[in-house]
Amino acid sequence: MAKSNSWRQFKAILRKDLVMELRTKEMITSMGLYALLTMVVYQIALAEAGDSFDVRLVMPGLIWVAFIFMSMLGLNRSFVHEKDQGCIDALLLSPVDRPVIFFAKFAGNLLFLMVVELLSLPVFSFLFLQGREGFGNPVWLVGVVLLGASIGISGVGTLLATMTVNTKGKDVMLAVLFVPIMYPLLRAAVGATFAAVIGGPGTVQAFWLYMAWVAGFDVIMVAIAYALYEFVIGV
């Protein structure tokens, strides 16, 4: 009984976020536009590198830079709404378990992040990888990295954004806390993406080694974020 109750509460909060997004389309458009703008900046960054430069070498780094800043934008938006419209107060007043709020917000943020990532990756390939060598390993491996790293980003990001939305600097504060905390995850995500993109002997093994690292980070950090969320959201 209690379990099904939590499940209903979870679905209700998630549905609220989805409905709001479907009506305003604010998160997806702002995150997507941000990703596009980042690619324009990449064009500038690579402008003098010449045609012989293999973009695949820096591609894993470039996409994760775009995704990390994009995710901060989305995380911040997701809680600014909650706060400005008094939604978080209403949630706290209603008889919803605090962990349910964490998992619902986590799932919502993960969903939006994955959608924009999956949309912007083909665009990146279209703009930068045409006429280049293809991926060395099956493309679905990149999908595995996206999912693995996005879980960590959204999980820990949900906790940090809940805190920073109440600070003076909001988005700047989120960056200050988020980027160093995320370092181990991002480093492994770039390593795994690189192994998937370049290919060759030993890269599949390297890929799964990096993914083990990503999974370890996800389990430990999301568990800590979950444990701390109850304390953070109440004050």
Binding site: V156, M163, T167, L177, Y183, M221, I224, L228
Partner: protein, 230 residues
């Protein structure tokens, strides 16, 4: 508010030991030399760099520990303790960075190298700084304490990573203890190191206790001022 004689003794003793270790390092412990026979003078920084680095990791444990205590009890003193522990951590972290960079320049020929230990330690530095940036940007006192505790616990995860990473990954940072055949020290070097390390930990303890006492006095003063004002 009672005086803390132990902290004062530790301060004096720590000062004597670290100074003694300094002289021991130069006049007693044998220097290592390069393959071509030149004396490796830069190695002497080991007796300062490693003790401050170990101290930074150890003191940072208290940030997480008192963070947990605060969240459990909501007693303000634990938040103050966590903050002071982080202050002392920052002090040791900056010393580690400064001495490390000097050694890197001499030994590796560059001021900075993105290798695993240096990278994770740099992240640790950023996290410790971020802790204070976070504190400064929250106005509500309870929120500030809760957020800082939560972030302190989360940030602490990087400390064991940074500590053990030279043993996990291919790192060019030296591993002195338990790192295989080429690691380990001669007895006189080991004794010098232990003196320096013990002295540094005493100093860390003394800094923490004395800063805590100062902070408690300041808070009492603020409370008294408000009382008189009423």
């Amino acid at each position: 508010m009672k005086r803390n004689p132990l902290a004062e003794i530790m301060l004096g003793l720590g000062g004597v030991l670290t100074t003694a270790a300094f002289f021991m390092a130069f006049f007693w412990a044998p220097g290592t030399s390069y393959p071509d026979g030149r004396v490796d003078f830069a190695q002497k920084i080991f007796y300062f760099h490693v003790p401050v680095a170990e101290a930074s990791f150890l003191v940072f444990i208290f940030t997480a520990y008192y963070g947990i205590r605060f969240l459990m009890t909501r007693e303000r003193i634990y938040d103050t303790k966590a903050r002071i522990a982080t202050e002392v951590t920052l002090f040791f972290v900056l010393l580690t960075m400064a001495t490390g960079i000097l050694w890197t320049r001499v030994e590796w020929g560059v001021w900075w190298q993105w290798e695993p230990r240096l990278t994770t330690y740099f992240i640790l530095t950023l996290l410790v700084i971020a802790y204070f940036v976070l504190r400064n940007s929250v106005e509500d006192e309870e929120k500030r304490a809760v957020y800082a505790s939560a972030f302190g616990i989360l940030a602490f995860v990087d400390a064991p990573i940074s500590f053990f990473i030279t043993r996990w990954l291919n790192s060019i940072h030296p591993i002195v203890f338990g790192g295989g055949e080429s690691s380990g020290l001669e007895t006189s070097m080991l004794i010098t190191f232990i003196v320096a390390q013990v002295g540094m930990l005493m100093l860390g303890y003394a800094f923490y206790q004395l800063r805590l006492r100062e902070e408690e006095l300041r808070e009492r003063l603020e409370a008294l001022k408000i009382e008189i004002g009423d």
